[in-house]
Symmetry: C2
Subunit: 136 residues, 2 copies
């Protein structure tokens, strides 16, 4: 429910299409492509258009409510974002995803790489792919 409050607090309107998309995104455990989001939200709001999905995705990503991930099939997927900087671990079979915090381990890796290359590291992209407990 906090997503709706957040949108209201930022001055955005709560409309039927947005409710439908929010409901899909808040419940998903797998990274969904815009098309997949449309298909699911369509049930709750049949006249929903893909354009509206894209606009809301950009809005929510900007508010850090959503995280955009790279899927193995090349598409982009969207996942509800936890607070702070987390990373995604995605099941290659069922798509189910969990987030994990790997900052501590990355920091030592990053300082070693900085030392070795002379670069200063400012950002990173880390995703893991594997099999979830149910798919092993």
């Amino acid at each position: 429910m906090k997503w709706k409050d957040r949108l209201a607090a930022e001055g955005y309107r709560l409309t039927a299409p947005r409710r439908a998309v929010l409901q899909v995104l808040q419940q998903t455990e797998t990274p969904l492509s815009p098309q997949e989001i449309l298909a699911q939200a369509h049930k709750a709001h049949p006249q929903l258009g893909l354009v509206t999905v894209y606009r809301l995705l950009n809005l929510l990503t900007g508010l850090n409510l959503l995280r955009r991930v790279h899927r193995k099939d090349g598409c982009h997927g969207y996942l509800p974002a936890s607070l702070g900087h987390h990373h995604a671990l995605i099941c290659q079979t069922c798509g189910r995803a969990v987030e994990f915090a790997g900052e501590a381990d990355l920091e030592s890796l990053i300082s070693r790489v900085e030392m070795g290359t002379g670069y200063r590291v400012e950002d990173h992209l880390l995703q893991l792919f594997g099999l979830c407990p149910g798919c092993q």
Copy 2:
């Protein structure tokens, strides 16, 4: 020169368009988009088409001679790949990229995540972004 040998060994033909594209890719230090590759290779082979670039990129990526990276601007870029599983560190200002091996550090992170989540991790995507020595 070993790329050409590799192509020949795999039964692929050495043509003028391919020579032009190979020359560009073997020399680059920054991840190039297909359009950028076309623009540079065009000098050596003016009638080169973008389609041919795409086909060769897919071919070389399949042979593990090229690595596809995600650029911050959303485009895909291509870098010559070293042997083994390496990762890219890309300068956000000039685009210059280096590869680094972070397997040792990642292994401890990965086993910790496997322990915590119950997933089995089979693959990963790691890229670092920062400033190269010259751009700091």
